[in-house]
Symmetry: C2
Subunit: 394 residues, 2 copies
């Protein structure tokens, strides 16, 4: 029989999706170039040419059965080895290919990591503001997502609330740094304190508490920002990565889990994930995409536009009186709404063709998200709309 719980999920429509649809519809009226659509987190810069060249070369030269054949369900061994080597070089880790499980993006990585270290009924903690998909990601495994209230001063971690919520029922803590939607990067001090508390609680409860670190924005960090690699600070850690943002190919669904070699059962986790994938239907990401990203592991798209856009917006918005913690990375910022009701504020902004997502969608009321992964020229044209919005309403 048709399963009611999935049917019920069809009732809610995400605010982000609604705003994005509004932007498209408004674009059809006045030209999309005149809608300042800051609603969606889609990369706005092309894939590196080397990726495209590699894909074409493989298609032209490789034996098709070899190129398009089954990969192991853990991923292609040579690709896993290269991912491990790249991470070791950059972050001083000791991964081998055996610690890498290739996935269909960060979503696939998180789905497998959660199933590996949580049972139905276990609690998973995350921190507001947070990517709203975490709720279905966690809750559909049978575990229960609990959200630690935000540290609205710095958008680091509200450690008081965290310690209180880190009860014996918690099997995993899910972090996202650099963060969607705040744009903040956890400092070394933050990661160390997080790690210290988790280690203490592990000892106290006598069971593992895993850190699942969602890092799709790892390569988008702005000048001078301290951006530690969380797995270097905590043994029971699973680093979940996606190439979507760094290589601008979100549609190709490619990422991985890197299992900390020091974690419990470190040598088993990637093969456990390949068992889990028999149930999720995941199997492995596409062979050709695995092979192609392995050739450009240490490249990124030209990500400089995001920092440029951030600087322009940060300067203008703080000048207009917005309170905003300066982003350390990503292509998001998360200013305070000039009125407590960010939904009302977002509604007013729409009248100026500014599409801004209320922070309510990310678990923090009274703030809003700007996704500035759009052309700089459009960012500059949007400033006048922000000015009018503020002048005429606040």
């Amino acid at each position: 029989m048709i399963v009611q719980k999935y049917k019920d999920m069809l009732q809610g429509k995400s605010v982000i999706r609604q705003l994005s649809e509004f932007a498209v519809a408004r674009g059809q009226e006045i030209g999309y170039e005149n809608v300042f659509d800051f609603s969606l987190g889609n990369p706005s810069v092309p894939v590196p040419q080397a990726f495209t060249d590699t894909m074409i070369r493989m298609l032209q030269e490789k034996d098709s059965m070899e190129l398009h054949g089954y990969s192991q369900s853990l991923g292609i061994p040579s690709v896993r080895d290269k991912v491990a080597a790249s991470l070791n070089k950059r972050f001083g880790m000791n991964y081998t290919g055996n610690h890498i499980f290739m996935t269909t993006g960060a979503a696939g990585a998180i789905a497998h990591a959660l199933r590996c270290v949580t049972q139905p009924g276990d609690e998973v903690l995350t921190f507001a503001p947070y990517f709203p998909e975490y709720a279905p990601y966690v809750n559909l495994t049978g575990a229960v997502l609990k959200v630690v209230p935000a540290d609205t001063e710095n958008f680091q971690i509200n450690f008081g609330a965290f310690e209180e919520m880190l009860t014996e029922k918690v099997a995993a803590v899910l972090i996202n740094t650099p963060n969607n939607p705040s744009g903040m990067v956890y400092s070394t001090a933050t990661v160390k304190e997080l790690s210290r508390i988790m280690e203490e609680k592990q000892r106290q409860y006598g069971h593992d508490i895993f850190l699942i670190s969602d890092e799709p924005y790892r390569e988008i960090v702005f000048a001078g920002v301290d951006a530690p690699y969380p797995s270097a600070f905590y043994d029971n850690s699973l680093s979940c990565y996606s190439f979507s943002k760094s290589l601008s190919l979100p549609g190709e669904r490619i990422g991985y889990i890197a299992v900390n070699p020091k974690c419990t059962d470190a040598e088993l986790i990637s093969v456990m994930c390949s068992q889990i994938s028999r149930g999720t239907g995941h199997n492995c990401p596409p062979s050709i995409i695995q092979l192609a990203v392995a050739k450009v592991l240490d490249l990124t798209s030209d990500l400089s536009v995001y920092e440029r856009n951030m600087n322009i917006l940060y300067k203008e918005l703080t000048g207009l009186g917005f309170e905003c913690v300066r982003p350390g990375g990503t292509f998001y910022m998360f200013p305070k709404s000039p009125e407590p009701d960010a939904v009302a504020f977002s509604g007013k902004a729409k009248k100026y063709d500014l599409i801004l997502v209320p922070g309510d969608s990310f678990g923090v009321e009274g703030y809003f998200r700007i996704a500035y992964c759009i052309d700089t020229e459009k960012v500059e044209r949007s400033l006048e709309a922000f000015r009018r919005l503020m002048k005429e309403n606040y």
Copy 2:
């Protein structure tokens, strides 16, 4: 904490995998060309050139952000429309794009179909001989796979056993035609009788019983064989497809669910699947692969080699006294072992460098599977080994 059930799954090693590893190891001793490796179901013919050409052209010509951007989680709308149109033309159905959910291969399709129409604890019936991955596919959703004993006379359906096992607890029936491992194709009479019984039981129990039809071998049907499209005969049907075999690209993980427009909640099922995918981490198959297969929907690789191989093997083996139902499609056949213990027979065959999988792996003792997706030249050279195996042992 690390989840024990997935750890436990690491203990068992599949017989197919072990035989395949033996074949590779033996190949290192005597040259792989001298090992008659009939163990694995990997396509042995190249992808159509039109697929490769399409991929290259898109990479050269398309805007990279458009080409590699997020697709909707249901799949790219134009791709879903084309799949629907192709199925309608071939099978007289009335699908629209809304009935198509793009997946990462048949494994992804089955994972979503099962979650859509079964609850934990429900029973799912399948028929021996069956693809052994069905057990984890079903059991890891929380439902329970039950296997209806084989009709060893024709490898159609043992309807007596089926009717007995089709109790009120059954939420879905999982079929695979053309069949791995028997090579048999369900006849129109078989599909009609299956449908009649399921409809009767639906009425009797007052709840839906879904038919999940796994069809990766749909395009590999031999001359003159009656190969009905199951969904044309039963309303509550979900057709699960993979392009792995028809286009020889199993590593690219692309397939779909086609939801029968006449089934319960037909308009909801594909959007329900996109909710399910938030939990499985599936999201959608890679954009570029979706776009490329949509361009070659009505093409296949040159599949004629499989029928040629079947004819050679069928003639020789029946001549040697093997009992075997003549395959109607796929690249498998499933002869009776000359001794009741097919594991012992497979062990003897190994001494002649014939790698044959005992039927025990597929839920039928006393038979063995030959996967003849290898070069015809090698099939011909294998005949002498079959002759010696029989002469010297039976």
